[in-house]
């Protein structure tokens, strides 16, 4: 065990921790009046996010978790840009989970949207103070000074002062009440291509993910969990498990009945991961499978389908009368769509290293929501949150799974019991079989067309177990925000509309997965309007543009109300890039889909061929309007990744349950898109001065329906259920 023992705890502090020594005290960064300076004798630290050292080193704090979206580079670059700092001096430190950093929840594609402005301000404050310090030194006014690449420059004589040399003087300057942010034309980093600040760690295997966290004398653990959700242990024979070399202990752990509480089961503690896995494989457990023991997801989805075929709970807003529209229709179109459960399957499985000792709890874990992890750990131990430290490691993917810190609670419980540092590791089988699942869904859409092929009535019914059920047991209807992910707020101008939601009881833990309800509502809507276009004998692109109608900004309670002009713009861009309407080789066709989600506008065109009843993707063109963006290359990378994520959903993605247990177990049966399936992906990012909106999620929803629409255009065959592998064409 030399490697483990030789690694001191300081390594973690260096990589992820904040500088210690009472340097930093709390402030609400969103409120100007409450910004608290925290510099000491050697560091100029005008707020929680900026620490400038005398050698020029600039430590910037990232308050959001890094899971591949490049947030450490992006947010850091925003601060550095406003400071006129030289990027080569920048080091990013990950914030621990603490409310003093504001909301740290890294999901909902909200980081840049919500904290770009305050982060820029943190940099602007630092710069203004460095300028004041220099001006004082030179006995000139601040207006006589400018800044460039880590220097303050005296405009009168071109004399320069290095930022690092201003640390002591800047500490004596008062925090300004108001600061001016840069104009777009003056940006050095914002909106440019900046490579990941962590690139070298990623290419040398030196980035510390949660699963790589090490402490001296730590234990490694696995837990056997009941195959059906919320079942429990009836009896366990641990004899064989205890006989495995390296296994130190086996014991039962109780379920914690909180939304992010652990499922419970039988824990195996060992001195290495392999022994913990082997020990678990040798447990003989009889389960009380509980109330979900009979869950059969295929039958269940069929039941949801039956429910959307009859009238359900009406969801506002209703407009006109769909019944009248249907009665007067020239043509009626109706269709039913069904989608299965999905699971996130981040490449790094859930895991956490926890050390409960001396009334404290230290956590090293890949968590999207460090404050939730802190709250859960404190609640489990019955201690104040201030005694819990959440060190946020790199996340090997998140996609929503790592927002739910049940795995942290597990490690807390095991460390407490063992009185030692314990790392819980989920195997891939655990990850696939005991997750918070993307919900299964059924939708029924019915529309009327008049003799001109115009849509006059629109009825949309949806049914799916709600994420609310995880938080409020007994919740059987969709939450408003779930329906609001594009279902009852589609961008169309239709005179008569009605939305309905049918009941759906959960039988597994339901949770959010990248793009959430936009995945299935986009699939239903984008497929259905393609069907309408076909019925109306119109070009799908033009039909969809017409359905969106005139340029308008929708009246709605939203920080970024829908602007139909921007939506049509991305459709036109993607179509133009794809050369929509061109003649294609035999068996090839284009398909288009679009979606407005997470306040961003995305359209995707896909070229497929279907030859010998096998589908192949040839090209993907995506156009995104996310307003102002921070790091262009990052945004492009996210959109490329979204296309691949969407391909997995379309081609392969399915989680099914039988007798309460998830039928898939690893990557051989929960299949993800691999390189040979991925065609060239062309991304266009719209340049404008609109407020920044989401990037991580909005690229996913149009992909699957674009593929299905393209297949229809190639073959005349309409697939209304996913994945396509179920239809024998993959």
């Amino acid at each position: 065990m030399e490697g483990i023992q030789n690694m001191s705890r300081r390594n973690f502090v260096k990589v992820f921790g904040l500088a210690s020594g009472g340097l930093i005290i709390g402030c609400q960064f969103t409120s100007e009046n409450e910004i608290v300076r925290i510099d000491d004798g050697t560091t100029f630290a005008p707020n929680l996010f900026v620490q400038l050292k005398k050698d020029g080193k600039l430590i910037l704090i990232c308050s959001r978790s890094e899971m591949g979206q490049g947030i450490r580079t992006s947010l850091g670059s925003a601060i550095a840009d406003e400071m006129d700092a030289d990027w080569k001096y920048v080091e990013i430190q990950q914030a621990t989970g603490d409310k003093k950093f504001g909301n740290q929840n890294t999901d909902g594609s909200r980081s840049v949207r919500t904290i770009l402005a305050p982060m820029r301000k943190m940099g602007a404050i630092a710069k203004a103070m460095l300028v004041s310090a220099a001006a004082k030194k030179w006995e000139v006014s601040e207006a006589d000074c400018t800044t460039k690449m880590h220097y303050v420059i005296n405009k009168n004589n071109n004399k320069k002062l290095f930022f690092g040399d201003l640390v002591e003087d800047a500490m004596k300057i008062e925090v300004p009440k108001n600061v001016t942010l840069k104009n777009k034309k003056d940006f050095n980093y914002i909106g440019k291509k900046l490579k990941s600040i962590d690139i070298n760690d990623f290419t040398h295997g030196s980035a510390t993910f949660g699963i790589d966290a090490r402490l001296p004398n730590m234990k490694f653990a696995t837990i056997a969990r009941c195959p059906s959700a919320f079942g429990s242990v009836k009896s366990v024979d641990k004899t064989k498990a205890m006989a495995i070399a390296g296994v130190e202990d086996v014991f039962e752990v109780e379920r914690v009945k909180r939304p992010f509480g652990m499922l419970g089961g039988v824990a195996v503690i060992a001195n290495n991961t392999w022994s913990a896995i082997q020990g678990r494989n040798n447990l003989e457990i009889t389960w009380d499978k509980g109330s979900n023991a009979k869950y059969d997801s295929k039958k269940y989805t069929q039941r949801l389908t039956n429910r959307v075929h009859t009238r359900a709970k009406v969801v506002p807003p209703t407009k006109g009368s769909v019944n009248k529209a249907f009665a007067n229709a020239s043509q009626i179109v109706e269709a039913t769509y069904q989608l299965p459960h999905l699971v996130h399957a981040p490449m790094e499985v859930p895991n956490a290293l926890v050390w409960v000792h001396d009334g404290k709890c230290e956590v090293w874990a890949p968590v999207q929501s460090p404050q939730s992890a802190r709250a859960e750990a404190a609640a489990y131990l019955g201690i104040d949150e201030e005694h819990v430290t959440i060190n946020v490691t790199f996340l090997g993917g998140g996609f929503g799974r790592k927002s739910k810190p049940d795995f942290v609670v597990e490690a807390v419980a095991l460390s407490k019991k063992m009185n030692a540092p314990v790392q819980i590791v989920w195997t891939r089988e655990d990850d696939i079989q005991h997750s918070y699942y993307h919900t299964t869904n059924a939708q029924y859409l019915k529309a009327s067309l008049d003799k001109n092929g115009t849509v006059t009535g629109w009825l949309h019914r949806t049914a799916f177990p709600t994420i609310n059920s995880t938080f409020m047991p007994g919740a059987n209807y969709a939450a408003g925000w779930e329906i609001g992910q594009g279902m009852n707020n589609n961008p169309f101008e239709i005179e008569n509309v009605r939305y309905e939601n049918a009941k759906a009881e959960p039988h597994v833990r339901i949770g959010w997965l990248r793009s959430v309800c936009a995945i299935f509502h986009s699939f239903g809507i984008n497929s259905f309007i393609d069907e309408l276009a076909a019925k109306a004998e119109k070009d799908p692109l033009q039909f969809k543009l017409d359905l969106i109608g005139k340029d308008r900004i929708r009246e709605e309670k939203s920080p970024h109300p829908l602007n139909t002009k921007r939506l049509k713009n991305v459709m036109n861009i993607a179509a133009k890039k794809a050369n929509w309407g061109r003649k294609l080789p035999e068996g090839h066709a284009l398909g288009i889909a679009f979606y407005y989600s997470f306040y961003s506008y995305v359209a995707t065109v896909v070229e497929v061929s279907v030859i010998n009843n096998k589908v192949k993707l040839h090209n993907v063109w995506t156009a995104l309007d996310c307003g102002m963006y921070l790091n262009k290359d990052n945004v492009i990378n996210q959109m490329e990744g979204s296309a691949v994520f969407g391909m997995s959903i379309a081609l392969h993605g399915k989680i099914t349950a039988k007798d309460g247990a998830i039928e898939q177990s690893n990557f051989h049966d929960y299949i993800l898109t691999r390189m040979h399936e991925v065609p060239p992906i062309d991304i266009t990012i719209v340049d404008n001065d609109e407020a920044p909106t989401g990037v991580g999620e909005p690229g996913v929803p149009p992909v699957a329906p674009a593929i299905v629409n393209a297949i229809y255009n190639a073959t005349g065959k309409r697939y209304r259920t996913l994945p396509l592998s179920e239809h024998g064409i993959v």
Binding site: G3, D198, I199, M347, F394, T427, L672, T673
Partner: protein
């Protein structure tokens, strides 16, 4: 006591012969760049080179690695170094977790085929899953590495 030779360095360790190399390397030797992804040779996150050949460390026992030269992502080969430069130039990674395995697999590809086509790359790299979807960049970076090498 057994000796594993990793990146040119000998490590004396105590572990069961059946322990997969992955866990011996990660938990016993303490080199954590090699990743666990599936444990069943499906995803390639645990890729290493054994005597220069691409191998899945999750599915090979420790005993198999004794007396052989193991290269992990912490190590160096000519092609690995060039691929690192290319990965940086193309800004390949998102979360970065699978990239250890991607780089090792790509280095094995270039060791055997100094100028691969897209089809060669797809064939060689399809054993490595990237959930973030950086495949187009991996493909591009491998071509970039070839260009850098030929410069």
């Amino acid at each position: 006591m057994k000796t594993l030779t990793i990146n040119g360095k000998n490590h004396n360790i105590e572990a069961h012969d059946d322990m997969p190399l992955l866990w011996a390397i990660r938990d016993i030797v303490g080199l954590t760049g090699t990743k666990y992804g599936c444990g069943v040779s499906q995803c390639g996150a645990c890729s290493i080179l054994i005597d220069g050949e691409l191998a899945r460390s999750c599915s090979l026992p420790l005993s198999y690695g004794i007396g052989k030269n193991i290269t992990t992502i912490e190590g160096k080969t000519d092609n690995l170094e060039i691929l690192r430069k290319a990965w940086s130039e193309i800004n390949v990674p998102q979360c970065g977790y699978c990239q250890s395995g991607q780089l090792i697999a790509a280095s094995a590809l270039l060791d055997n085929n100094p100028n691969p086509t897209d089809e060669d790359i797809d064939a060689a790299m399809s054993g490595n899953i990237c959930r973030c979807g950086t495949y187009p960049r991996i493909r591009k970076a491998i071509h970039t590495a070839v260009k850098l090498k030929n410069k």
